[in-house]
Amino acid sequence: MTVMNMVQAINSALASEMEADDSVIILGEDVGRAGGVFRVTDGLFERFGGDRVIDTPLAESLIAGMATGMAMAGLRPVAEMQFMGFSYLALSMIISHTARMRNRSRGSYTVPIVMRMPYGAGVKALEHHSESTESLYVQIPGLKVVVPSTPREAKGLLISSIRDPDPVVFLEPTRSYRLFKEEVEDGSFTIPIGESRMVREGDDVTVVGWGAMMPMVQEAADASEREGTSCEIIDLRTLSPMDSEAVVRSVKKTGRVVVVQEAPMTCGVAGELISRLTSKAFLSLEAPPERVTAPDITVPLPQGEKYYYISPDRIYNAIRRAASY
């Protein structure tokens, strides 16, 4: 065990998979000598060489397409989109080819790639650097979407994503990159894709979140507990395929639910999850499901960010509303 932050944990996952399997290749902008703009790939260029840690030209569609072709030929590329906000330049490639090559060819070709993307606000960044548009990817059949919330989760989920036979969009919460450390196994280990994580069991309100929202969910839940509301916290962990069954089980017990999503509200993952809950746990609901989301506006620049970014207070208030309905 080593105490690591999320950047170190992701780096450790990449290194251990590259060590074990020479078909694992990294490509992206500045991933080589610079070690990535967040230093996630630090030291890998020196260790594995420029043929396996590839600084590409500055071209996101090419990066996604190139990774797709590599995978069709049997490699397991891990492509980095420098920020989620730049992945839109690759969206056509991802939708048109990455996600559907398997189906189009009836399995003759498969695309086992990982597209790592730092996402999310709350870091006082430039425009386009604070996006949380996971719904775009969740809507695409053939893709999996994974969002880790802690260093250990990041390592285990990334190793699973690299070994997964299908393309995975791996969203890394920029805000959590260096927010806290925890003990992480030194060797290789996996955390299954498609299974949520029960963070804390409780009786009164189910609170669901993922990625960068989890520390805030816990803070809000702690405050609620102090006032006697027991919260069951679920880290959704994989947005596609989504483990809604675990949330259904929890809501059947608590009867009340708050879903926390960093992204704007409309057509978000929270709305989808709540829709599933209303059809599968309808008679168990004792309060209208609450969702805490960003408003449907463009992410403001840092000076206006407080009106956009979710705070523990907003989550706390939602828990109170649900509990007291």
């Binding site: 569609s61 397409g65 797709t68 590599m70 003759s108």
Partner: protein, 360 residues
Amino acid sequence: MLTDDFDPMRGQMLSILDQDGNIVDESLVPSLDDDMLERAFRNMVLSRVADEKAVTLQRQGRLGAYPPNRGQEAASLGPAMAMERSDWLVRAFRELAGLLWKGLPLDRYFLGWMGNEEGNRFGAENRITPSSIPVASQYAYAVGLSYASRYRREDAVTFAFTGDGGTSEGDFHESLNAAGVFSLPMVFIVQNNQWAISVPRSRQTASTTIAQKAVAYGIKGLQVDGNDLLAMYAAAKEAADRARGGGGPTLIEAYTYRLGNHTTSDDARRYRLASESKEWEARDPLARLMKHLYAKGVLDDRKTEAIWKEARQTTEDAVSKAESFPPPSVEEVFRHTYEEMPPLLEEQMQHIRRDVGGGT
């Protein structure tokens, strides 16, 4: 080197057979024995017959919208003849002659255009990719295929096709640029058939030639008479040899013409002059090769007639086989989305079974 002798910046185009099948310059004739030339002709005839059959089937409602190949056979066949088994053929959607040479089963070709993904279940062993409809997007994964084969130290060149319209796409630029940077073993073939649906070549680029775009990427470029099989073969062979030898990618502009409509849903008379098409009819790659092979004594009437007859039979057999292929079950439609079907998809599949049917 052809790429030195025919400079696209100076408007020089490689041509070996003239319109009447006469050799323009004996020193340029590639070494292809009579047997190979006859096979090439056979292939071109099969492509022509199968292509016309597909158009007919579409008119009869037995096949979906279809992009005819007529007039462009040499542009894909020449490069395919320069390919080794281990080479990748990354297709757009108008390369039938080349695909048949590379080993695409004709019944799968029909099946695909009849609207069944099973038509694309081939390939991994033939190293042919499924058709790519978003124009030029296939160039980006072609770069990845090529990078992978070099990484694995395979002797494999990646041949990637697009059209003149494709050269306007960002993916065209990003891919040629990257192939140059990585010096990948690739041959990019642009079938410049003069029209991207209704928009003429002059609206795609202000460049005099498409081949000259290679200069900006630091790679070799060559404009070739795309209706001249010998020229297309010679150009592709030189490019493939250079790629195999570590000399990097080449851009080949196949100067050709789409004699038919863009697809069966299009009517080219709305935007093209009949006189233009007529002029190009006279440059038909198939007729040209036939004249050359008659003059060479490789073909005579008896042989030619047998070749057409055989092509018609092969085509009919392939159509029957494709039409006897069962439509997919609901399971088949669902199960290739992921390697393992997630629970929600299972559930949705059951709902479709309940509401629509679709077998087990």
